[in-house]
């Protein structure tokens, strides 16, 4: 469960996040929807403990990210916007490295990695070095290493950006499975179809402010638009 209250963050003169507040519950996929530069990434970065907010609170399972960042980080899995891999390490070694950093047991690590390799269909690349991996293959490794410790909360920044159809589908199916396991998933995107296909809850964000939060149906009802894109345009224009 992730809770954000009155979050504010400025970079010099630019107010990137301006009093953002929302709630992402367990057993649901929550999507942050907004243009590029709307403040989605900044919000997520504060949540996973790499940026310090100027004001406000961010809580993960009741743990304050500002005061206990390491404890909060232990409760989340993160897929960052940056998908940097080390060209000389194999896919398996990448996942293993993060599992070790999260203090997992050796046998448990192996079991979990084998499981992820099957779920994400990575048997071909598992023992290959990351040099020359395609965008989709890189993504799978990143997703695996953020899921290896079976976190209760998953934060993903633009998870399907630049992915082919096959990979997008397998990412979607994993997210649905996690949702069934009562996990809390928070992702950001600027792609309408992505959000409407995946998310139970949608948070529309623009210029660092939350303009509306609700299910797809609720947004449609409040804007009188059945299409998310039209609804989004209407909401952001009003804001």
């Amino acid at each position: 469960m992730i809770e954000v209250q009155n979050l504010t963050k400025s970079f010099k003169d630019l107010v990137a996040v301006d009093g953002v507040g929302f709630h992402a519950r367990n057993g649901a996929i929550t999507g942050l929807l907004g243009h590029n530069g709307a403040g989605k990434s900044t919000t997520l970065r504060i949540l996973y403990g790499l940026l310090k907010a100027d004001k406000g609170r961010a809580m993960v399972d009741g743990i304050d990210v500002m005061t206990e960042p390491l404890k909060a980080q232990a409760e989340i899995g993160v897929m960052t916007d940056a998908h940097g891999l080390n060209p000389r390490l194999t896919a398996r070694e990448h996942i293993e490295y993060f599992a070790r950093l999260r203090k997992m047991e050796k046998t448990e690590i192996q079991r979990r990695i084998d499981e992820l390799i099957v779920t994400l269909d990575m048997s071909e690349i598992a023992d290959r070095r990351a040099e020359g991996f395609s965008q989709g293959e890189k993504m799978k490794v990143c997703l695996s290493r953020s899921l290896v410790h079976d976190p209760q909360n998953l934060i993903m920044d633009e998870p399907t950006n630049g992915l082919d159809v096959m990979t997008t589908r397998s990412v979607r199916s994993i997210l649905h499975k996690l949702k069934k396991d009562n996990k809390c998933i928070l992702l950001s995107s600027h792609i309408m179809q992505e959000i409407s296909a995946l998310c139970d809850e949608i948070i529309v964000i623009a210029d660092g402010k939350v303009l509306m939060q609700g299910t797809l149906d609720e947004l449609a009802r409040r804007t009188n638009e059945s299409d998310l894109e039209e609804a989004f345009m209407k909401i952001t224009r009003q804001g």
Binding site: L50, T80, N86, R145
Partner: protein, 402 residues
């Protein structure tokens, strides 16, 4: 915890040819250079020591030849094949041609030519020319020629003095001044100056061997955009920095030990005793040197990690670190210019303390334990300072996200 990071970075570095190349190539370079320089000096010293002098017409100057032999010159009598000139006292053109061919074909480096009438002229208190044929461009022969020339001059002065005494004149009349040369640049001091390069190579190795890894785990991580995903894990920044630092330390330490072993090996191959230097390195000395230098393997990577985190890319890091590479030269130059003895404060200057200790050990002196301790501990302190600085840098938003 940090060992997880160290192990991963080492695994990565061992697969990196560039880092491995730096690790293996540099330690070999210094000792090989030192070996060849030593051998050159010793060769020159040896050759100047035993001069063999080819002489044509040795039988015409028995007194001079005796004098040369008494002073350690080995006389090699040479007979010419070309026909002599029956009309002249001196050698024929054909004979001179034969000598010139013998020198240019390197059969000789130089030849002393004594004319037939030499003893006769000297005995009659007159003067005679003798010729020393040589090729002045042959630098290796220069010290030998100088020696022969000097001895002949000395014999000339002695003969002149005897002539004056026989006529009741004090020889000092024609020798108002005597220049006595005292050469302090002995072979020994030349060897000493080469030995002075050993500490320099050792300190350099600490910087060169760990650099590839230090840059890769910092600027490389930023350039690959893999720093942000790493920092998402619940691991304190100082743990991450220590883990990365230690990976570079391992490379730097291995490089140091390699340089040390190879240096002592190459020095043991050189016949140092022939130039009068006693250089016996036992296991105790090696341990002493290792204790002295291993803190360098902590220090050099700590600066490089600090600078590496500052840099956005390999290119940036290389530009910054080329300045850092100048640092090991500072104590070397300081020591060259410094005329005072070791002073207490020098122990607290990073690298200078180590340089002094190494210089002592290489010269066969045993430094005091307190110097070892102070120099080592102060270097450890500076290393931790840089590591702390690096962990602080890793908290900066600008560094994580750009």
């Amino acid at each position: 915890m940090w060992s997880i990071i160290t192990r991963k970075e080492l695994k990565d570095a061992l697969r990196d040819r560039r880092a491995l190349g730096a690790l293996l190539l540099f330690p070999i370079l210094g000792p090989v250079m030192i070996y060849f320089m030593f051998n050159m000096i010793i060769d020159i010293a040896e050759e100047a020591g035993e001069v063999s002098l080819p002489v044509i017409g040795a039988q015409y100057a028995s007194d001079l030849i005796d004098y040369l032999e008494q002073n350690g010159i080995e006389i090699e009598t040479v007979n010419l094949n070309a026909a002599a000139n029956p009309d002249s006292d001196f050698y024929s053109n054909a004979q001179l041609e034969e000598i010139s061919v013998a020198i240019s074909s390197r059969r000789f480096d130089f030849v002393l030519l004594i004319p037939e009438k030499f003893d006769e002229l000297i005995g009659a208190s007159r003067s005679s020319n003798i010729e020393l044929h040589m090729e002045s461009t042959r630098t290796t022969a220069a010290p030998k020629i100088g020696r022969v020339d000097g001895l002949i001059q000395a014999w000339g002065r002695e003969t002149a003095a005897l002539r004056l005494i026989a006529r009741g004149v004090n020889p000092a009349v024609i020798a108002p001044v005597n220049v006595v040369r005292v050469d302090t640049a002995s072979q020994q001091s030349r060897v000493q100056s080469i030995l002075g390069m050993v500490p320099f190579f050792v300190i350099m190795a600490a910087f060169v061997c760990g650099m590839g890894v230090a840059v890769d785990v910092t600027a490389g991580e930023r350039e690959r955009k893999s720093l942000e995903p790493l920092l998402v894990n619940p691991v304190p920044r100082y743990t991450i920095v220590i883990g990365k630092w230690m990976a570079a330390v391992v490379f730097s330490a291995v490089g140091l030990v390699l340089v040390m072993i190879l240096n002592f090996f190459s020095l043991s191959l050189v016949p140092l005793e022939e130039v009068g230097i006693v250089f016996n390195v036992g296991s105790l000395e090696i341990i002493g040197v290792l204790v002295t230098t291993l803190p360098l393997a902590l220090f050099a990577p700590s600066i490089q990690i600090f600078v590496g985190i500052f840099a956005k890319s390999f290119k940036d890091a290389q530009a910054y670190l080329s300045f850092i590479m100048m640092l090991p030269m500072a104590p070397f130059f300081f020591n060259m210019l410094n005329t005072q003895d070791r002073e207490f404060w020098m122990n607290f200057v990073p690298m200078l303390g180590q340089h002094m200790l190494l210089t002592d050990v290489v010269r066969g002196e045993t430094p005091e334990i307190i110097d070892f301790l102070l120099a080592g501990l102060s270097l450890l302190f500076y290393s931790l300072l840089f590591v702390y600085g690096a962990s602080q840098l890793m908290k900066r938003e600008r560094i994580i996200f750009s």
